[in-house]
Amino acid sequence: MVYIVGILALVFLVLTITVIVRMQKVLKGVKSSETGEGLPQGNRWNGAMFILFLVFALVASTWSFLVAEKDFLPEASSIHGRRTDDLFWFSMGILTIACIVVNFLLFFFSWKYQYKKGNKATFYPENHKLELIWTVIPAVVMATLVFTGWRAWSDITSDAPKDSEVVEIVGKQFGWIVRYPGVNDKKLGNYNYKLIDAQNELGIDLSDEFSFDDFTNPSEMHIPVNKPVLLKIRARDVLHSVFIPHLRVKMDAVPGMPTRFWFVADKTTNEMRAELGNPDFDYEIACTEICGQGHFGMRMRLVIEDEVSYRKWCAEQKTFLQTYPDYLAKVPANLKAKALQYMPTQTTESTETTPADSTSVDAASGGAGTSASLR
């Protein structure tokens, strides 16, 4: 910190001294150098400054990059993420070269061809061949970048595989709520924004039997590793945007227009903790669309785990109906019997102790079988 501010202060100090020295010359009267004869005023030091700046910029940008690099995000934890990262650094490489070359020429020419008495500039209004060359070169480079980018984009935005794990994530002022399709029917129930109230924060429609085993979570999202995950994204009030920096995932949440994004995460939270040597590491979900006062604080924890622990976690979650049994009243009469399966009396005890958990997993998968055959 002190170090950086010190360097900055130094740069400005040097510049300020130049200012003062120059100022004195200004005050001493400039008429002599400014009129007709001799060099244009200050031409020489400005020419030199271009070279100085060039050197300074090269050194400063290289050094700062090396210092900053360790604070960049770690290698992407998703398959598409590594692909876009590679593409990013590849493009950056090409562009950095272009940037250095053009800026170098610009500054070098500025210094080299500064006004010299008696010199005359070369009258050189055009050269079609040259212009053609430098129209075609960027066009070709651009075409390559576009093509690779386009292929990645098409793959990323293609339809999610059929066996994707579906998770719904809903943005609201100011937080995320996730909803899982449940362990039995594995389908998200309908929703309707008019049904939203203080408990039913997502407007789950309990007249749809698929919603009976849905469960929600306002603080964590769990997903399995090495398995396609499809996020179904929506917003309740204003725009939000789901951003999972480590997975290179971003998609807006739009009220009235559900969006989606699918990906395969391939490093569990624990693997990342080990890799980074940071036992406190957590994946995080942030919001990147301005949504009001709490926009900067919509953190949600993301847990990536192996499939077994994931299934176990899912099974441990209380369904919406279990949490709020009152909503049984909203279930239509003909489905009441089915909904009753998910009522607290049947499962409250089983979530209490760990051994009971495994049985509930079994029961749950058995249940899924039944409901599937019922359909």
């Binding site: 200012v19 610009l106 209004p125 430098w134 920096p245 009235g256 009001g292």
Partner: protein, 626 residues
């Protein structure tokens, strides 16, 4: 068309009469119809806005760089927005960001840059007495002024000014209950911007008509300085795109006040499900960016035009590839209308559309690259004079290149997934649009100050101002790329909520310090500017030994610009250092018949055309019979 023509008719009439009698103070300096006075009005208003806008960025930079700083000392200015423990209110942070963006883009760089120089230079460089309609031109400024007053007054509302980002995406901006910035502040924002758009349209119509109809004898389109080409194309861009923003704003006003659902659907907020269904927030984004993207060129093209002119003059060389420069201007302008959705890759838009917009966006890089190469080649084997204007122009090219290149990354939809709405974007657009255009503004002021005020600005102070600003801009915005690569989202009040954004506290402090120092450096300019208006050295007739027509007008051009006939034009504006010529410049109004020693073979044929040019209609608003 007929409307415009009557407009011209009445102006001619009005001016004919005013010409003889001295105008009173009000007519001369306040409600003036003289394009030069209007240009200065735009410039001064723009400068005042830029001080406010940049000061705002300093406040939020302090917040970002030193999140724990005690800001009680700002209480006298910000009052209630600093709480008792000396912290900045998060709502007000967003308001500051929003106002900063709106002010810088629209009020400083659209009005202050394009408004100033289109007004000032079009008549002077094409050889016209004034704009086609001085009256509309005056109205244009006063609409802008009213818009400014309204926007400014919104800063003092109890609930604060608009705070939804400069793009004011609904539903946030449509629902007063969603944010305090969406209450009265948003209403005033919309009213102000509506007036602003009207102002832009009035101005744009004028610029276009003037360029088409009022060029002096011989000033064919292929002899127009590149400044005029740039202003002309900018005006067309504005004329096509601003009405779309106007509609977007009007529909938003309907949604806010009259219960319509253009942008609203299925919203539950503050314990209440709103009745609106069927609208689309994405519609607004399409409409907004249909203006928004051309808008970035509306601010940038005039700067590029100004730069072309200044680089040629001070390299003492013709601009390299005059035709390619025009072609690339037109290419960029055309393409700028069909790339808007690159701001919307991750809105859930159809991925196929994303692919199309990616292709179109990356095509823009080609004409832009051509421009950068042409500028560089113009410097090659020149005889460069580093006036402050020249320095800022070279600086502009550097920024244009550095910032433009990261656009190629962001235009790639696959890469934009990660980078969208992070500081990488902030870095990109500040360099390529903000700083580059601001450099165009500085360059223009330094270069045409003598024509505006008849005096010179201090050269050395200008050069120092340049180096401080140039270094400052890179120190502020270059490191922002790193922060963006690390995934820091923009419009965040603080970064400590997340682990992934808990790094870079030093770098953020560094950027803030650099921003403050760059801000302070601008006072050198302000002092130089205002001091020189009154006390600067008297300007010679043609201080930069330039070819364009404005330098043939009197040092302090009066109403009507030229005394006597408007000079005709015989050649293009870039005959610098022509082989054989005794001087290193030949102004546009020097006929080929007078320069046999330097004429190229095909130019000798043009000598025969001189009679034709001279015989042309005067095209002079004051001299035409009526």
């Amino acid at each position: 068309m007929s409307v415009v023509e009557t407009g011209i008719g009445t102006t001619v009439h009005a001016e004919e009469h005013e010409h003889h009698e001295e105008q009173n103070f009000w007519r001369k300096y306040i409600f003036s119809e003289d394009h030069k006075v209007i240009a200065k009005q735009y410039l001064i208003t723009g400068i005042m806005w830029s001080v406010i806008g940049i000061a705002m960025s300093v406040v939020f930079r302090i917040q970002l760089g030193f999140p724990n700083a005690n800001l009680s000392w700002l209480k006298p200015v910000l009052g209630q927005w600093i709480n008792d423990t000396g912290q900045l209110d998060p709502n007000f942070y967003l308001a500051l960001v929003t106002m900063h963006g709106t002010i810088m883009v629209f009020f400083v760089l659209t009005a202050g840059l394009s408004g100033t120089f289109s007004n000032f230079l079009i008549p002077l460089q094409i050889g016209a007495r004034d704009m086609a309609s001085g009256f509309l031109n005056m109205l244009s400024y006063w609409f802008f002024f009213t818009a400014s007053v309204i926007m400014f007054s919104s800063l003092f509302l109890q609930t604060g000014p608009a705070a939804g980002g400069w793009v004011i995406y609904p539903p946030l901006s449509a629902l007063p209950q969603a944010h305090i910035g969406s209450q009265m502040g948003m209403t005033l924002w919309l009213v102000s911007m509506t007036l602003f758009i009207v102002s832009q349209l009035l101005g744009g119509i004028n610029y276009i008509t003037t360029v088409i109809n009022l060029r002096t004898r011989g000033m064919a389109f292929n002899r127009l300085p590149l400044t005029i080409w740039a202003f002309f194309i900018t005006a067309i861009l504005g004329l096509i795109s601003f009405p779309v923003l106007l509609s977007a704003a009007l529909l938003l006003i309907f949604d806010r006040h009259f219960g319509t659902s253009f942008y609203l659907s299925e919203i539950y907020i503050n314990g209440e499900a709103l009745p609106n269904v069927g609208g689309s927030p994405i519609l607004f984004q399409h409409l907004f960016w249909f203006l928004g993207h051309p808008e970035v060129y509306i601010v940038l093209l005039p700067a590029l035009g100004i730069t072309s002119e200044i680089i040629a003059t001070n390299s003492r060389k013709p601009i390299f590839g005059y035709r390619a420069m025009i072609a690339s201007l037109i290419g960029i302008a055309f393409l700028s209308f069909i790339v808007w959705a690159h701001h919307m890759f991750v809105t859930g838009m159809n991925p196929f559309l994303g692919s199309v917009f990616m292709f179109l966006t990356l095509i823009i890089a080609v004409p832009s690259a051509v421009k950068a190469f042409n500028y560089t080649t113009t410097l090659w084997r020149g005889n460069l004079v580093f006036t402050p204007a020249m320095l800022f122009s070279i600086g502009l090219v550097s920024l244009f290149v550095t910032g433009g290149l990261t656009g190629i990354i962001l235009g790639n939809s696959a890469l934009d997934i990660q980078l969208h709405d992070t500081y990488f974007v902030v870095a990109h657009f500040h360099i390529v649009m903000g700083a580059a255009s601001a450099f165009g503004l500085f360059a223009g002021v330094y270069h045409w100050f003598p024509k505006m005020f008849g005096r010179m600005m201090n050269n050395t102070l200008g050069q120092i101002h340049f180096w401080l600003t140039f270094t400052g801009i890179y120190l502020v915005f270059f490191p922002m790329h790193y922060i963006g690569i690390a995934g820091f989202p923009r419009r965040y009040y603080q970064f400590t909520t997340y682990n992934f954004s808990s790094s870079f506290t030093d770098l953020n402090a560094f950027i803030s310090v650099a921003a403050i120092l760059s801000f302070l450096a601008q006072f050198i300019f302000l002092w130089n500017f205002f001091y020189s208006i009154f006390k600067g050295k008297k300007s010679p007739q043609n201080p930069w030994r330039s070819n364009t027509l404005e330098w043939t007008a009197p040092i302090n051009p009066g109403h009507g610009n030229w005394v006597g006939e408007i000079p005709p034009v015989y050649r293009w504006p870039y005959d610098y250092s022509k082989p054989g010529a005794p001087e290193d410049f030949i102004p546009q109004n020097v006929p080929y018949s007078q320069t046999p020693e330097s004429n190229l073979p095909h130019e000798n044929e043009e000598i025969a055309m001189e009679k034709v040019i001279e015989a042309q209609n005067f095209n002079d608003q004051f001299k035409e019979a009526h």
